[in-house]
Amino acid sequence: MSELQRLREAFRTALDLPADAPVDDLRYQDNEKWDSLAHMSLVATIEDEFSVMIDTDDVINMSSFQEAISILGKYGINFNE
């Protein structure tokens, strides 16, 4: 599975979305399931999936799927396909 697919899966798992749900344009609070509680589970899921420890500032800045891609780039995870 590509890194991008893994991130999409992490979002679907953490936000309790169906397996085929599009997630690339998701933004915090736009989707009713992505609130502060789901955010906590999202961060934990991403940390497990990519074996990283995300800094506080990055946790509170991760306000969209695209933002997550750019933040994870700082941790050496490359999403270019």
Partner: protein, 409 residues
């Protein structure tokens, strides 16, 4: 009842909009044009919602505070009436199923008295600045608003929550002095490596909405003490409008595990191990039907809490368990037997989660059960965990061994 004391400020962090006497008067004028009786208010964290709430209280119209994201058409149908008791001010839904919720009937004097008791023990003054961290239809969130407005303090309206930068930026910009959190939020704050030194105006954290584990109580009390601030551990129930105790921060270390002392003017007794609260802030009673809204006080200032507990020789309360099988999820009580009656599962209380065991179901079924149970409870899906098991552990008498299930978590 007028909760909007002179000097009180409500400001929307995102829009800069503020609440004024004129806003409330305009909301009252709109309300006066509408049919009388109960006001159903899906209350958002906005100036407009709060204006309508305060207007209803001023007009003496009982107001039901509802989750703005929910569908309440059944509830509105069940409780619509113009025959209401003159003392009735606020109605809140109880925990449990969304199918048939009861309402808690709070009088104006109970609400006002409790707001004042809270303001006293938390030392809320005109200089205090709170920020919204909880929904306003939830009794803890409502009481933060009420107790600050009553003292002419400021309430900052913030909607994104503690996992987003906007929240912390608003806390700095508006010099917030106090934040209120439930246990799940303390877990988040720990994850965020919350450092109160970054928010120099922050003086107080308060905690209610279920038991916070002792390790986190100590941890956050120490974080706050380092910057000259305090952590207030509190205990309440919606039925008590809602606060019953606070633990004085100076006694926290020696009384670790206690929820503190009864609020001024109230006290506890322990009857057959059950915690019974006596105070002026106890509800008038429950309502199952519209006709119940015409009833007067049925409680006489006495509330059987359903919690088991003990008092020490100084009157500090320690909660030791519950009479009914209950879970508390995100601060909301859930009757475990009700869950089992409505779903083919076995339910136990986890750590701020409802944990259910389903025998021999597929992953897909487990996922759909989770969604259905969370919807039925009106709780967030992350508060429900479904575990698939091949068989349930049984006691020698053939009953389900709940202890074994709890210890398997």
């Amino acid at each position: 009842m007028n909760l909007f004391h002179p000097g009180a400020r409500v400001v929307d962090a995102a829009t800069g909009e503020t609440l004024t006497e004129q806003t409330i008067a305009a909301a009252a004028a709109v309300l006066a044009e509408e049919p009388g009786g109960v006001v159903f208010l899906p209350i958002e964290t906005t100036i407009a919602s709060i204006a309508r709430y305060l207007a209803a209280l001023r007009l003496g119209r009982p107001v039901v505070l509802l989750d703005p994201d929910g569908d309440h058409s059944d509830l509105v149908e069940r409780f619509s009436t113009t025959e209401v008791h003159p003392d009735l001010a606020i109605l809140l839904t109880t925990s449990g199923s969304t199918g048939n919720p009861k309402l808690v009937r709070l009088s104006a004097s109970a609400v006002e008295t409790n707001a004042d008791q809270i303001a006293q023990v938390l030392d809320i003054t005109a200089d205090s600045v709170a920020i919204t961290t909880l929904p306003l239809f939830y009794s803890y969130g409502m009481s933060v608003l009420n107790s600050h407005l009553l003292r002419g303090a400021t309430v900052v309206l913030e909607r994104t929550g503690i996992m987003q930068r906007d929240f912390w930026a608003a806390a700095v910009e508006h010099n917030v002095t106090s934040m209120a959190f439930v246990p799940s939020q303390y877990e988040m704050l720990r994850r965020l490596r919350f450092d109160p030194a970054k928010y120099p105006s922050l003086r107080n954290l308060t905690q209610a909405g279920g038991r916070l584990r002792a390790e986190l109580v100590t941890d956050f009390a120490e974080r706050m003490a380092k910057v000259g601030g305090r952590l207030y551990v509190m205990y309440g129930q919606t039925e008590a409008a809602p606060r019953m105790t606070t633990l004085p921060p100076g006694r926290l270390a020696e009384k670790l595990g206690s929820v503190g002392l009864a609020l001024p003017g109230s006290h506890f007794t322990i009857e057959d191990d059950e915690v019974v609260f006596h105070g002026p802030n106890v509800m008038m009673g429950y309502a199952d039907t519209a006709a119940d809204l015409a009833k007067g006080d049925e409680q006489g200032g006495v509330l059987r809490t359903g919690d088991l507990g003990r008092l020490d020789d100084e009157g500090f309360l320690f909660i030791t368990g519950r009479i009914k099988r209950m879970a508390k999820v995100f601060g909301v009580r859930i009757n475990l037997d009700d869950v089992e009656k409505n779903f083919p599962v076995t339910a136990v209380a986890g750590d701020d989660k409802l944990e259910v065991f389903a025998v021999g179901v597929s992953d897909d079924d487990a996922r759909s059960l989770r969604t259905k149970i969370a919807e039925w409870l009106g709780t967030h899906f992350t508060g429900v965990n479904v575990r698939t098991v091949d068989a349930l552990p049984l006691l020698p008498n053939g009953k389900i061994d709940y202890r074994a299930l709890e210890s398997s978590l």
